[in-house]
Amino acid sequence: MCMQKRRFLSLAVAFVAFAFWFGFPEKSHAVPSYARQTGMACEACHTVFPELTPFGRAFKLNGYLIDNLPQVQGITTSKEQALLLNQLPPLSLMFQASYTQTSKALPDSAATGTNAQNGQVLFPQQASLFYAGRIAPNMGAFIQITYDPVSGTVGWDNTDIRYANQVPAVTDGLTYGFTLNNNPTVQDVWNSTPAWQTPFDQRTSAAPMPAAATQIDQTLAGGVAGLTAYAWWKNSIYGEFGLYRSAPQGVGGSAGAGPLDSQSGGVISGYAPYWRLAYEKQWDQNSLMVGTYGLDVQLHPASDPTVRINVPLAGPTDHYRDIAFDAQYQFIGDEHLFSVQTTYIRENMWLDQSFALGFSSNPTDDLRTFRLGGTYYYQRKYGASLGYFSTTGSADAVRYGSGTAIFGSASGSPNSNGWIGELDYVPWQNVKFALQYTAYNKFNGASSNYDGLGRNASDNNTLYLLAWIAF
């Protein structure tokens, strides 16, 4: 009786984990709002959405301001612009439908010994409403509201509101700005940082994914608010620095919007600094960027739902330091497009609070993530991409070894790696069909029987068909 109850509990936790992992804000980037505002076709700013061209990077760094719509205007008595609103709001919609199949079906969540349906249709896989464009004379926004079919709710997604201006007196132009956003690297303009990294950006919601990820690798997405300042010189040199603080969605409950306390999970202590430096060189039809970015977070560990310990927001914290490097190369020709993106993130963890509370086996851990991918398009219509991903790190039985089916790890190791291949057909600039296959060499610490209950890494190999339209 006790065994059955524990097994049920572990499956329930697995189900919660399933919903938790798959309910993350999805990344999406194609925004016809900007096409409506600028009057320019998608290809001006995107090689093929979501990847940005050098002009697209300039558009974003200048505050999403380039605007060729009639305006509602207001000026002060000293002839300063007091209001500048598009007569037509730059709204757009995004719709994705998908089919996902894993190499081996997932087990039924209740009836043991049988399998769930393999071959899941998500309709929508995701649907989003965007307001994207200028909101004031020097301010622009990228605001996304997303319907997530897993939770069945509409939620607040990637948001980047920014102020930008230029100092024309500086030779070759200096652009500076501030961004208020809810996801470290969402404000970045190269497709080699986590929020927008191609060709890894489109993943199904309906298949298992490796559990371990560094803090800067979308882990904080949607649960933080950050203010950063940046400068960009000569279309070439970029520097940014800012601070993030916890701002989770859906807190407060019946008691109303209260401050974060021991009932909240994963609260950042104080402010987490974020930095980003990049150097881009453009020549002929090529551009090459090398850069570095990082985040330093003091975190109160999330409460443990199975043991019901509420972690007070006091005393020692867990300290995560993420230091990352990235690079991007693009060739944008008349007929051929080719790009390569790569990033390497190294995370060091000093788990003072977690270790003391028994949430980790080790007082310190580390985690490293590496991704390298390339994409080719012919006439911006027929494309193919290939990517390699790898996460390795110190084994930590308590932290990673949940022992749950499918999503856990028997070895307590975070190591996962594999390949993604994708074929794309883009009949019109705002419509994309993708056929994607993900193959895992290693999943949550092992190639075979990684969860201790018989599932192999290759059982999670995923076939994913995606229809993606933005309008």
Partner: protein, 204 residues
Amino acid sequence: MKLNPTTPFALLLLFAAAPAFAQDEDAARLAIGVCAACHGPRGESVAPAFPRLAAQRAEYIESQLKSFRDRTRSDPMAQGYMWGMTSQLSDGTIAGLAEYYSKQKPVRNGQQGNPKLLQEGKTIYEQGIPATNVPACITCHGKDAEGSAVYPRLAGQHAPYLVKQIALFKSALRADPNAAVMHAISAGMSFEQAEAVAAYLASK
């Protein structure tokens, strides 16, 4: 104190000119802040997809910006980029932008191409192609390809851009009001000849 009789007139002139000064400043800000993203802060674009505008004829820039705004120039890059960029430009701003770019220092590529190709290009530029009734480019575009009145400067322009424009004139995909003459001329040019002239012009 006796007021100089010319003073009111001078003041009037100054006030009349003030909007023009403000407009020049606005145009420069626009050029450096917006157009620079593709064309470079002084019109010295790096990518051949985007033409160099530095030292371009003001009359030509003005006519092209108006053609983009009117949507009479309708080649693919025009539709994708320039229709949007120009839709809200006033005549005054267009004049200011034309003035700004025409005053910039020309870009000297110093490109060294295949000498045979450059020589062939020079010959076509200076003498035309009699066999197919192609007149000498020099007659409209100037001795040093610096342009004249509304005929654009070609010296120092990206070779791939020039070749593409010849192709667009030939297929009539580029159909702005001044394109009719180039449509007739390009009909008599082969792709190899266009490449030769473009290489020669890019090297100037």
